[in-house]
Amino acid sequence: MTIEELEQIAKSVCQENDKYDFEVNVCMDLACMSQGADRLREALEKAAGASGKNVLVRRTGCMGPCSSGPLVRVDPEENLYHHVKADNAEAIVASLGGAPVPELQCDLNDHFDRQVRVVLENAGHIDPEKIDDYISRDGYKALLTALTEMTPNGVIHRITESGLRGRGGGGYPTGLKWGTVAKAGGELKYVVCNGDEGDPGAFMDRSVMEGDPHRVIEGMAIAAYAVGASKGFIYVRAEYPVAVSRLTTAIREARRRGLLGNGICNTPFSFDVEIRLGAGAFVCGEETALLASIEGRRGTPRTRPPYPAVSGLFGKPTLLNNVETYANIAPIVRNGGKWFANMGSERSKGTKVFALTGKITNTGLVEVPMGIKLREIIEVIGGGVPGGHTFKAVQTGGPSGGCIPAEMLDLGVSYDALMAVGSIMGSGGMIVMDDTSCMVNVAKFFVEFCKTESCGKCIPCRAGTAQMHTLLTRICEGKGTMEDLDLLISLCETIKETSLCGLGMTAPNPVLSTIKYFHNEYIEHIVHKRCPAGVCNIEAPVAVSAEVLA
C-alpha cells in the first residue's frame, strides 16, 4: 500500500458515492440502536428500494445528541431528523429531492455550531465497518506519511509540539510519554490502548471505538512506529460488545489492506494489534492494573515507579494511552503540531470530547475546544436544564471528580482549572444536576461506586471508602452528627494522600467538593434533619411527650 493507492481507494469511494443522488445516514451508535435504529435502517433501505430513487442508506457512528435518537441525516442537504421511527422511513425517502419532513426536523444549530470536531470528525459520516470509507476521509494517510516521510523522532516532535495531553484524565503530556518509551532500551516494546472506560455517565471512548475504530488503530500504529514497538493491545471492557465487534472488523480489514502486519507499506515497520477484554472492573482503567489484567493476572494496581514506560506489559517498556488520545494522533500528524496547538487554552491544547448527561436537554456527545466555559457547554450546547428547574452543579471526571457549583460556571475547561477547583478533567464525563439533586446523596452515590470498585489491595481505599459510605449514609438518614462530618473530612484527607492508586486518591473528591461548595446541605441534614432537595428519606424525629419523660 502506498499513498497513491490510498488516494486511489479514496477516489473510487467518492465515485461510488457520486452514483447516488442522496445519502441517508443512520446513526447506529448504541444509544440509537437501543431505540430501534436497526429496524429503522432496514425500513429505510426497503423504502429506498421501492421508491426507485438513487439512495445510499449508510450506517454511521454517533452523531452526538443521543437523547434525540434515533438520528438520521440526509445529505447533501444536511437535514437532521430526530426521534425517527421505522414508520417514518417512507416519509423520509419520499421527501428526498423535495422539502424536508417538518415534524422530524430538529433545530440543533446552537448545539453543533459551538463545537469543533477533531476526534469526532468522521463520526456520523462514515460506515465504521468499512475501511474504504475511512480511507476516503484521509484515513491512514497520516500513518503512511509517518512511515515514509518522517523519522520516529520527527513524529514524537510533532506530538510534543501539538501540546496534546493524555485524554484518559491524568493529562500527562503525550509527547513526553512517547519520548520516554522511545528512549527505553530493549527489542520488544508494547503499545496499549486503554478502552476500559468505566466512569458512570461517560461514553466518549465507546462512541469513538464504535463510530471510527480505524482512527484508534491508526493512532496506535503511528505511536508504535514512533516508540519502536511492534505489538499492540486494545483493552476494551466486555460491556462494550458493539465496540469490540467493530474493532475486530476494523483490525481484520486493516490487516487485509496491509495496514497492519509485517512490513507495512513496504517499509521494515511491522505492527499488529490484538483485543483484550476487561471483565468489568473499574480499577482496570488504572494503567498498572490494566497491564496486570492483560497479562492474565488479578487486576490490581502496583506501586510506581517503575512506570510502564520503563517496565510495563510483561516487564517490557510499554506505551499506554487512552482511546481519545490515540484518536487525536492522525489529525496531528496530518495537519501538524501547530495546527493542534492553536486550539484550546494555554496549557490544555486541542479539543476534548465530553459526554453530557444528567439533567440536561441535549444528552449526548460533544466535542469542544479546551478553554471553553462550562456555562457555554451546559447552557448553549447542552441546551440547559430542562423542565423549568434550576442548575445546581456539574460533576466532571466521574466518581473521581468533584461537583462544581453554579457560581463557577464561567470557569474555562482545562486540566489545571478543574484541578484548582477540586475536580478533575477525568475522561470527560459531565453529569449535570439541578435543584432536585441532593448533593449529600450525590456524594454518597459516587462513594458507593468507589467502594464497590475498590480492588481491596490497599487499606485506605478498601476500608476508607467503606467508612466514608457508612458516614454519608448516616448523614443522609438524618442520623449524622457534626463529629461525623469532621471525621469524614479527616478520613478523606488520609485516603487522598495515602491510597496506592488513582482510584483511592481521587475517591474523596466528590465528598470534599460537595462539603466545600454545598456545606449548608450537610448542615441541613445533620442539624435540622431535613433534606433540602427532598431526596433523602429522613424519618421525622419521634416526638417524646413530657409525660413519658417524667
Binding site: T303, T452, S454, K457, C458, G464, Q467, L471, L487
Partner: protein, 237 residues
C-alpha cells in the same frame, strides 16, 4: 567518585547516611535503626506497598512514597515521622481495627500480634470510626491450622510466601474492596486444599488470622480425668 562506587548519600530524619544504590528507603532506615512502621512488608518476600503505613515524606515532593518499595537516590531528604505521617498512620490503623473483628482480649495472638504492637507504639487507645462488625467465617477444616478471617488484615503475606517461597500458591485473594478475603485453592476448605502443610503462612501472618492449632492447645491443657474421680469421691461420701 561515590556515584561510580554505587554509594549514595541521603538524609533521613536529619541524619546524614550513606547507602548502596538500589536499596529501598526502608532498608536504609532499618540498617540505621530508624523505625518506620510496616505491616505488609516482610523481609524475604516481595514488596507490594499495600498497607501504606511506611509512607514517608520526600523533600521537594508533595507525594508520599512507600519506603518499602521506593529506592533511595543521591541527596534525597526523607522524613519518616512528621505529624502529617503520624496522623495518616493512626487513621490507617483505625481503619484496620474497625474493618473486621479485632478483639485482642479473646485473640490467640494477644501479646504477639504486629497490629496490636503497632497500635501500642502509635498510642492508639480508642477508635473513632464506626466498627463494621462483619460476619466472617473461621475455617478450621485443616488438621493443623486455622484461618480466622475476623482477624485478617489482607496484608497478603500468606499469599506471597506460599507462592514465592513454598511454590504452592494455595493462597490468593478473592473478591473486591471491602469484601476481599484470602482463600485457599479455588475457595475450598483449607483442609481439603492442596496445602503442603508447611506452615510458612502461619509463621508470616502478622495477626491471629492464621494460627497453629497445637499451640493453642498447649496454652490450655485440660484434664478431664477429674470427673470420674469426682463422682467416685462423691459416691463414697
Amino acid at each position: 567518585m561515590s556515584e561510580s562506587m554505587g554509594v549514595k548519600t541521603l538524609i533521613i530524619d536529619g541524619q546524614e547516611l550513606s547507602a548502596r544504590a538500589g536499596q529501598t528507603i526502608l532498608e536504609v532506615a532499618r540498617e540505621n535503626e530508624i523505625n518506620i512502621p510496616t505491616l505488609c512488608h516482610m523481609e524475604g518476600l516481595s514488596n507490594v506497598g499495600a498497607c501504606r503505613l511506611c509512607l514517608v515524606e520526600i523533600k521537594g515532593s508533595n507525594k508520599l512514597l512507600p519506603a518499602c518499595v521506593a529506592n533511595i537516590h543521591e541527596g534525597m531528604e526523607v522524613v519518616t515521622n512528621s505529624e502529617r505521617l503520624k496522623k495518616h498512620r493512626r487513621v490507617i490503623l483505625e481503619l484496620l481495627f474497625a474493618e473486621r473483628n479485632h478483639i485482642c482480649a479473646v485473640c490467640v495472638s494477644n501479646g504477639h500480634c504486629e497490629l496490636q504492637a503497632l497500635a501500642q507504639e502509635l498510642g492508639l487507645t480508642h477508635i473513632n470510626l464506626p466498627y463494621r462488625n462483619p460476619a466472617l467465617t473461621v475455617d478450621a477444616s485443616h488438621e493443623r491450622f486455622t484461618a480466622d478471617h475476623n482477624r485478617c488484615i489482607l496484608c497478603s503475606r500468606c499469599v506471597r510466601v506460599c507462592a514465592e517461597i513454598e511454590g504452592a500458591h494455595i493462597w490468593d485473594v478473592m473478591g473486591r474492596g471491602i469484601d476481599s478475603i484470602v482463600i485457599t485453592d479455588l475457595h475450598e476448605d483449607w483442609g481439603s486444599s492442596a496445602c503442603t502443610r508447611c506452615g510458612k503462612c502461619v509463621q508470616c501472618c502478622p495477626t491471629g488470622a492464621l494460627f497453629d492449632k497445637s499451640k493453642i492447645g498447649s496454652d490450655h491443657p485440660k484434664y478431664p480425668d477429674f470427673l470420674p474421680y469426682l463422682n467416685l469421691m462423691r459416691e463414697a461420701q
